[in-house]
Amino acid sequence: MINQLSSTEISVEPRTTSRRTFLSLAMGVPVGAALAACGSSGPTPTGGGASGGGAAAGKATYWYLSTQPQEGIRTASVDRFNKANPNTQIAATTFQNDAYKTKIKTALGAGQAPTIIWGWGGGTLRTYVQAGQVDDLTPWFDQNPAIKDRLFPSSFGAATIDGKIYAMPAEAVQPIVLFYNKKVFDQVGVQPPESWGDIMELVPKFNAAGIAPFSLGGQSRWTNMMWLEFLFDRVGGPELFGAVFDAQKDAWSNPAALDALTKVQDLVKADGFIKGFSSITADSNADQALLYTGKAAMMLHGTWTYGSMALDGGDFVSGGHLGYMNFPPVEGGKGDPSNTVGNPGQYLSIYSKATPEQKETAKKFFATQVLSPDEVKQWIDTGSVPIAKGSESALASSKDAAWLEFVYGVASNAKAFGQSWDQALSPTAAETLLDNISQLFQLSITPEEFAANMNAVIGK
């Protein structure tokens, strides 16, 4: 601003200085944008107080997401650890979802990452491993088999790169499920869908009643992606995306893929999604608000939204108005209706450039606090199924027993549990994917164009 204000004075005598000023303005442009991107995603220090990463401090650092109620559980575990270990402290910092994904990459590139790197495993973890940014935890797990044995074996898949384990699986299993508002269904007098055909029949009925059939936070893009994940699975089976993941040429042009892409555009064209979905972000939980306020009848979303709907939705969850089911089958599709997609867990890696003391602190945290009995209880209390073995019995006695047993059933009965695409793929391919998905939902590209654009980045 100072620069701009001084330029106003130039108007008196423009010939002497303005060219240089223009030069500096013009040059400051991209550089300034880049600097801004590096500097300020607005971290919020919590718990320990000290913010920021870096290997310089003696304290171990830990960054994670700020959405409640999950944030409270993460912070509570850090607080318990810090209370029990006055000499080896952990400083925690929280971020919003999309801000975090960018921030952590920038921090790794700048050598300023936290000791404990919270993530989703899969393709992103693979880029960290290839750059030598995270430690191989296989020897540590071999030395401490008890830690490995108390977690779901299936959760290690997304933590394993080329046969080695690079992350501690943590938190809860989070399949994507179809939520619906029972009050709205009663009001319109219809039944929950049992097939894709039912969904397409429900759409005009809800629209006629002035209720949006589906809520969707489309600006976040990965929210739209969940629809494709299920349609690809139900139409073509898990092999369909498996071919993309295995980098087979032209895998997106498979007729089943085009069929799934066409189906989702049919739903958009039939006004299946709430008006304005492409400007709603999931980070603000506005998509959930649409469901529990009855403005939308259904919502395809991760199980992590159950906790926040219970927290924000008044008596929506406690009063039994929230319905849920696995995504229904598509007529004539190859996919098993028990299949699901989502996050098989969260993943905690250790930054390779952290000091030995910080790494020790992190490992002690993994061993003593990650999915400790206290934490497991908190996950269950907020309606999540932690990936710790032996928590099944605790699920039944919880106030959310029906929900938890449903999630547990979906996760454990699934013939195939697909990892979220944007996490399974490399960041480069994931960005192209998300970009094209938003255009697909905007109806600005056809399924064929989508397939062609995506075929171009297969294996990248």
Partner: protein
């Protein structure tokens, strides 16, 4: 900065050292990063691992991407439309606020409030107000306001122009206000004696006298609009689809979301070149005739 009239130099010795602080900042924060960006554009780097030299592959990828002409077009449209909206509005506001009346001073304070707000705060607020389901339209029950403002390509584009203008018109009004106050009263008095009306005085005195102010303000608008990032990023994230994806946003998305620092740097270089070209072009438009003074009695 570096132009020192010969007479001063002769009498008091060189005053070039006065430029040192500015020069240090300019080199540190503009020249060095620019060279770095130029170098990065010939490499491939995912932002996390090692940097490897890759020749022109990044440039080739960027220049053959159909997204580039689109982003350039969107950037140009934002630039042209926001200039076309802001210039007349801030010119008129500036002239109005240049008056010394008490009520105008009060209004000026109100008009300048958007200057105090950060782009992110403005974007978040507008996003909430324009939400089709929970925003102003739905809250007040006004059907007309309950449009899908940010979800429909043309509307979203219009909203971006509107919010950008809302944010920056006060700043440019301030420039024009200062410019108008520098115009000598005597010129108006003479015009009045000659029987010129308000409108005539505006077009024959105010507007020509503000020529350089208009050029300065336009340059700031045009070059500044190349870098609109924060506001659009928070408001629409370039969406819906790619309707509001300007060049700066495209650069960010490639660099920091798709981990393609090479192509992102190439776009940054393109941004610099476009910005330079525009700034120089605008300077040319300002006229090169040294005898055309804007001061009294010219």
């Amino acid at each position: 900065m570096s132009v020192t009239p010969a007479t001063t130099r002769g009498r008091h010795g060189s005053l070039a050292w006065l430029a040192v602080p500015a020069l240090v900042f300019f080199v540190g924060f503009a020249v060095i990063p620019l060279v770095g960006v130029l170098a990065l554009s010939f490499t491939s780097w995912d932002g996390i691992g090692d940097i490897s030299v890759s020749g022109f592959t990044s440039w080739h990828a960027v220049l053959t991407d159909p997204g580039l002409p689109h982003a350039l077009w969107v950037t140009f449209l934002v630039m042209a439309l926001s200039w076309a909206v802001q210039t007349p509005a801030s010119l008129l506001l500036g002239v109005f606020l240049a008056g010394r009346q008490r009520y105008r001073a009060v209004l000026a304070v109100l008009y300048f409030v958007p200057l105090l707000l950060s782009s992110a705060a403005i974007a978040i607020t507008y996003k909430a107000l324009l939400d089709p389901n929970f925003g102003l339209g739905a809250g007040l029950g006004i059907e007309l306001l309950a449009q899908d403002w940010l979800g429909e390509a043309h509307l979203a584009f219009g909203i971006v122009i509107f919010v950008v203008s809302w944010q920056f018109i006060p700043f440019h009004s301030l420039i024009y206000q200062a410019g108008v106050r520098q115009i000598p009263r005597s010129m108006y008095e003479a015009a009045e004696l000659d029987g010129a009306g308000r409108v005539r005085r505006f077009f024959s005195i105010t507007l020509p006298q503000l020529k350089y102010t208009i050029i300065t303000s336009s340059t700031l608008m045009v070059v500044g609009s190349l870098t609109f990032f924060d506001l659009i990023f928070v408001l629409t994230e370039g969406g819906p689809g790619d309707a509001t994806r300007v060049l700066a946003l495209d650069m960010y998305k490639r660099g920091f979301q798709a981990n393609l620092m090479g192509p992102a740097s190439a776009i940054a270089v393109i941004l610099v070149l476009v910005g330079l070209a525009l700034a120089l072009l605008l300077r040319r438009l300002g006229g090169r005739d040294p005898s055309s003074s804007q001061m009294e009695g010219a």
